[in-house]
């Protein structure tokens, strides 16, 4: 985690603790893993206040053929698998997520933001905003809406924002280069989303 690649876009992590920076670097490494296999580079870790990292994930929508398999959903499944036999599902979910924070490289989309609310997440920390789908402030405010299943949670962005954007930008530039010519224009729109 400490040997961060040299990048022009390295951003200040002011206001965030050393531990929070470490977790977001883990999330960035998972995003890098997604990039390496052709998935949209988004990664995340869930951190329990006593148990540490309890789940981690990266985008897996291509591999699964399921457009809902975002990093958050991958990690949440890992957490649910930790439920001890005999513990009721609802109890485990409530007790676990009330003590758990999410570190994710890109602002959760509306789907994930809503899922986190249902689970009773304590706090979400993200890198860059998501101007198209963002559910924690950019487009929707699912995390603080008065109406909605589950409980409101705090969401704060900007931790290693530049690194998160650069990963996405590299991905979309690569996609654009590989796309059939008539499709390229559409890709460029995505590329600049996180400016």
């Amino acid at each position: 985690m400490s040997d961060k690649p040299e990048q022009a876009a390295t951003t200040a992590a002011g206001g965030f603790t050393a531990a929070e920076q470490t977790y977001m670097r883990q999330a960035l490494a998972l995003a890098e893993e997604a990039y390496a296999v052709g998935e949209v580079p988004v990664g995340c870790v869930f951190v329990h206040d006593e148990l540490g990292v309890v789940g981690q994930g990266r985008n897996r929508t291509n591999e699964t053929l399921n457009g809902t398999r975002h990093a958050e959903f991958e990690a949440i499944d890992q957490i649910l698998a930790l439920r001890p036999a005999g513990t009721p599902l609802a109890d485990f979910v409530r007790d676990t997520f009330a003590r758990t924070d999410l570190f994710v490289t890109v602002e959760p989309c509306v789907m994930c933001a809503s899922a986190l609310r249902k689970l009773g997440l304590r706090r979400a920390v993200y890198g860059c905003g998501n101007d198209k789908f963002g559910g924690c402030g950019s487009v929707f405010t699912i995390h603080t809406d008065e109406v909605g299943e589950g409980s409101k949670y705090e969401a704060v962005g900007g931790l290693f924002r530049g690194e998160a954007i650069m990963a996405l930008r590299r991905f979309y530039v690569r996609e654009n280069d590989h796309a059939p010519a008539p499709k390229r224009k559409g890709r460029r729109v995505l590329k600049t989303t996180f400016d």
Binding site: G67, V93, C109, V110, A113, A115, V147, G186
Partner: protein, 338 residues
């Protein structure tokens, strides 16, 4: 299901964007009334008034849906500018430069007129708002396609009945009584069916999410079979994305799949394009957004939900920032006849 005689289906109602449901929303503009012979002298000045900061002509700013000129009692009326963006004295000067005296006896005046702020999105809005000031209207593709034929309604009832059966299964299993069915409207084939699992298995496995996963897992299995059978003959061939509706004919037309070019990054997410979802309760924000990610074609739901995202708490399916929109019909449910 046994008491068919007393139960009847309600008519599904399209859930439109606010743009399509809003009433007349006025914006006040300065309008010059001039003799017809003065019109040709005035119009060049009006267009000068309309040049934006970037030097490009901007016919009426945000009011491009309005006609510029209308006849009125032998005179011609011209929209000059929104009241918020101009002043009367500025416009009187403009008319004076065109040789039109608004204080003389030519009958020329400048008045304020309330016109529609928005372009009409429906025929009804057009018919209403054009009475205030003439405007142009292009029938949106969405408005044409959300009229259901009798055959479509019958098919929708059949699919929703299967979703209701899945909801009953969920209730019997001690879960949330919600069911969902994914169907291909072209072939009439049920592609997937799911009961809600949020209480008994997974807090996020709402019926809609379970149904999307069922479509994906069926396709994964199909591809695995295909890969296994082709392994000996053709090790390669840049396998194109298969699809549910190619199941029978083994995918000869897969190469021509129209979604193929959308970019490999999101191929998996497009697996539900062309499919319709039938779900007994209005989807929440999570499920509604999952359907955006999956590129669903249409959604029919039965009961409304206070926190529903397809008409109640949100209208996610027509949200302007999202890159995929879909049609939604609600209130498709069986009711006891009075």
């Amino acid at each position: 299901m046994s008491d068919q005689g007393q139960m009847a289906w309600s008519t599904p109602e399209p859930v439109h964007s606010d743009e399509r449901t809003r009433g007349f929303d006025p914006v006040t503009v300065f309008v010059a009334t001039v003799p017809p012979r003065s019109l040709s002298a005035l119009l060049p000045w009006v267009s000068v008034l309309s040049v934006g900061d970037n030097g490009l002509e901007r016919p009426l700013g945000a009011l491009q849906h309005l006609k510029r000129v209308r006849p009125a009692n032998g005179m011609q009326q011209v929209i000059l500018a929104p009241v918020a963006e101009s002043t009367l004295s500025e416009l009187e000067l403009l008319l004076a430069r065109s040789g039109i005296d608004t204080h003389g006896d030519s009958g020329a005046t400048i008045d304020q007129v309330a016109v529609s702020r928005w372009a009409p999105a429906t025929r009804a809005q057009f018919d209403d708002w054009k009475e205030r000031w003439p405007m142009s209207f292009r029938l949106a593709a969405a408005e044409r396609s959300d009229a259901l034929s009798d055959a479509e309604v019958a098919a929708a009832q059949r699919f929703m009945q299967l979703a209701l059966d899945a909801a009953e299964d969920a209730a019997a299993a001690g879960d949330e009584p919600v069911g969902a069915v994914m169907a291909d409207p072209k072939s009439g084939v049920v592609v997937a069916r799911a009961s809600d699992l949020r209480r008994t298995h997974h807090p996020l496995m709402h019926a809609t999410m379970a149904c999307i996963e069922a479509v994906a897992s069926a396709e994964r299995a199909r591809r695995a079979r295909e890969a296994a059978s082709q392994a000996d003959e053709q090790p390669n061939a840049g396998e194109k994305r298969g699809r549910h509706d190619n199941d029978q004919d083994d995918g000869q037309d897969e190469v021509a799949e129209p979604d193929e070019g959308e970019g490999r990054a999101d191929l998996g997410g497009y697996l539900c394009s062309g499919l319709d979802l039938y779900v007994t309760r209005e989807p929440c924000a999570m499920c509604a957004m999952a359907l955006v990610h999956s590129r669903i074609r249409r959604v029919f739901y039965g009961e409304r939900s206070d926190e529903g995202a397809l008409g109640s708490a949100h209208k996610l399916h027509v949200h302007p920032s999202l890159n995929h929109h879909y049609l939604v019909f609600r209130d498709l449910r069986r009711q006891l006849q009075p």
